[in-house]
Amino acid sequence: MNNLISQFWPYTIDGLSLGAIYALVALGYTMVYGVLRLINFAHSEIFMIGTFAVLGMLHLFGMPSNVGGFALVGLLIVLAVAGGLASGGSAVILEYVAYRPLRRHGASRLAALISAIGASLFLQQLFARIVVPWAFDLPKEKGALPIQGHFVEKSDVIHIGSFELSNDRLIVIVGAVLMMVLLDVFVNRTKLGRGIRATAQDPETAVLMGVNIDRIVTATFAIGGAMAGVAAALYMLRFEETRFDVGFLLGIKAFTAAVLGGIGNLRGALVGGIVLGLFEMYGSAIFGSEWQNVVAFSVLVLVLMFRPTGILGESLQQARA
């Protein structure tokens, strides 16, 4: 407890930056669930693909080190776009290959769930055995090892008493919130966004109103995937390392964040991610880091006991038509 009080600000900042990444990844789970009522378990691998795309981009730039100022902002935008394109693109392909045929034939949601788990394992092993050794010129058996990429010298930008904010954490938090706001505006203000909401609310009526469901589903996967790609860029900035199963634990946490905030609810993903990140850090401070996951899931159970639909409760279809 003393530990938490004396180090309150560092724990809070770390919780916020961790939560911001959870939240961005959670968006993918929540959007797909909102539209298709499907839990896309392969979303964690979509995130993983994003981290490798970012890393590949860094290699293309010859691993710049100590980038600062405007060059850093530019580089980050390029990395986020690369991650977003790779993740968004692979999410669309994933939907096309693993889910669409099932939907066409009216398979049950359970079948789609199994397909999702299969796709997840397939993508992990594909990267560990073939893609990573090929792309990073490693011997075949080394594909499962972590790969590093360092491009920003970390320093404190704000320093007031025990309140220290390093540049990477600041970028992660600001970047994630910015993306969330953009997405919120997009879903609420644009035609495509209205289509997504309509489909989430009532797919059959939406079709009758002239909404092309397949297009909406593709757009949902693309946007959710792109968010995971941006999260991947921020993750690489913060942790500078990735491997084929990087998405596994993070995916579970992000899914937890989505449920915690209210699955199907975009703003809920942000709230869920931040709450989860903060509780993980505070829990670690009080009980020790080995309890981090225990605290996270205890919070989830407690919240669901009293608010079964999550903190914000409502889902995408009810979020104002």
Binding site: N3, Q7, F239, E241, G288, S289, E290, Q292
Partner: protein
Amino acid sequence: MKFTGVIAVSAALALGASACGDSGSGGSKGDTVTIGFLGDLTGENSGIVIPPKQGAQLAFDQYNATNPKVKIQFKTYDSQGKGEQAVPLVKQAITKDKIAGLIGPTFSGESAQADPVLEEGKIPNISSSATNVALAQHGWKFWHRLIANDNVQGAGIGNFIASNLKAKKVFIIHDSSEYGKPLAETVKANVEKAGATTSEDATDPQGSDYSATVNKAKAFNPDAIFFGGYYAQAGKLIKQLREGGVKGRFLSGDGSLDKGLAKGAGGTTADGTIVGCPCLIDPTGSAGAASKKFAQDYKAKFNADPGVYSAEAYDAATAFIAAVKAGNTTPEKINSFLSTIDQPGVSKQIKFSSAGEPTATDVYVYEVKGDQLPLLGNSKTATVK
């Protein structure tokens, strides 16, 4: 070694089959005695099994080159580091190849499964790298090792932190694993005994964010940090600790004795990190004349520097050679010879306690410089600049 596992039921079931008729008299076929080597020769951890295999190979080749009365045939078995593969291989070695002794199994996990079979088959075995403490507690008569166990290692590193580094505040971290946790706790007990104050935290090996641990360490402001765990995590931990502004010297155990540690930390961030290991890796021969000769012979034969556990396996082979030289060619005679052996080896004095543990308790420390891990010396005497 640090690969611990669960004793599978299959090992227990296998016992009956392996206790075959004439295994007691096996091994002495005319003028050769067969000694086996079992370990992960082609699997993902083969990088730390090939060096001991070559160490043993060197010893036997040197012996056979002297044209002795009884030659030793060296036979290798590839277990892939897996207990379920080690058990049938051991049975094959006992009944078909009639080995008189075995060097290995190399990992603690496969040892736990294969050692009961060796015990039942009455085959003396010496491991060069299985460090799990519990292996010595089964009362096995034919089991030996030439590497100090994790408790000895923890005590060696703990004393090094307290007396050589003179650290007053030590932060202890472990990865919650069967290997890392007891090692960290032994280090903790030893530095506390020497009067240092400690604080501790544990990490999740699956996770990538150690900021909670970093914040805790920062608040404690330690002189030294010990991590019980493997190199992949140790590297990331060093990076995040340094980024978070935690000074304090970083130390770890044999699970971190790999060049991947410096790589994971990035650049020269890991410089000055001290890694302890009961093993002796001494390519320059700075530890003594025997070590120097071994390094030269090894290099001449394999065109590579001796690696991890090379010297220990060489010593294990030396023990078997000494037994054969003294006229012992059956497994049981060799085993009783091993209980009395007392001669200097490359890595340590070759002498076993009644439980099969080495009597020497040397722990060596290595200091990270760039991407290399040169030997600093024995933990009792080494000094850090």
